[in-house]
Amino acid sequence: MSLFHDPTAASTPYKDPTPLPDDIPKVNELGATSAPLKSASFFIGAHCKEFNEDFMLCKQESRDPAHCLKEGRRVTRCAADLINKLRENCFKEFEEHWNCLEYNNQEFYPCRKPERALNKCVFEKMGLTKTIPGTPEGKTPVHELTNPVFKRQQK
């Protein structure tokens, strides 16, 4: 009468009742979860700056989802391209950094040592640097401090 059929245990795959029209190009969604994305965040910002800014300005014009589909596809493609390049060039340092983030509530301050290794590898192989926008003039950014106030309690 009122039996619950769990959708995850269905025998046939899910068929989308309202798919996008065929004239819209299909782009695969980004499969990276939160920790790898947070680790790569500043490099996505450096690599995909124009596409991200285009998308944000487009969204400012109108929040209708259909208005910014093209810019959104570009953003997804650029981020997926960067994650691919990161995995090709600096896989070990990348994995170490996002594993460290996962063990520390996804906060940057306890993971400066793996972050330094990742930044060095990415700069050498891909030419991207991490810059924190909004650092006051003349002060070192927090990720380059040699003796920070907020740090791990154990070495």
Partner: protein, 85 residues
């Protein structure tokens, strides 16, 4: 001279009881979070990202760094069922 060792039994009991309770709690939290400590100070952004992680990997603390998502990821969002007004 006889040492009053019976007087130290309550201290020992308290230490063991607190230690056992604390260890059990820590183990329980780690078992729920795939061997890592629990997340704290979670805001709406973190909740949204952890829901996305659950859709991608099956567990809110699961992580993967593949650039391509599984096929059912694009249609598994709760956005389809949300009311817009």
């Amino acid at each position: 001279m006889p040492v009053p060792w019976e007087a130290l039994i309550p201290f020992g009991l308290l230490t063991v009881m607190f230690g056992a309770a604390g260890t059990l709690l820590n183990t329980s939290k780690r078992l729920q979070n795939q061997g890592k400590g629990p997340r704290y100070n979670i805001d709406a952004w973190d909740e949204m990202m952890m829901d996305r992680d659950r859709r991608l990997t099956g567990h809110p603390r699961g992580q993967r760094s593949d650039p391509v998502a599984p096929d059912d990821f694009s249609t598994s969002s709760m956005w389809y069922t949300e009311r817009t007004r």
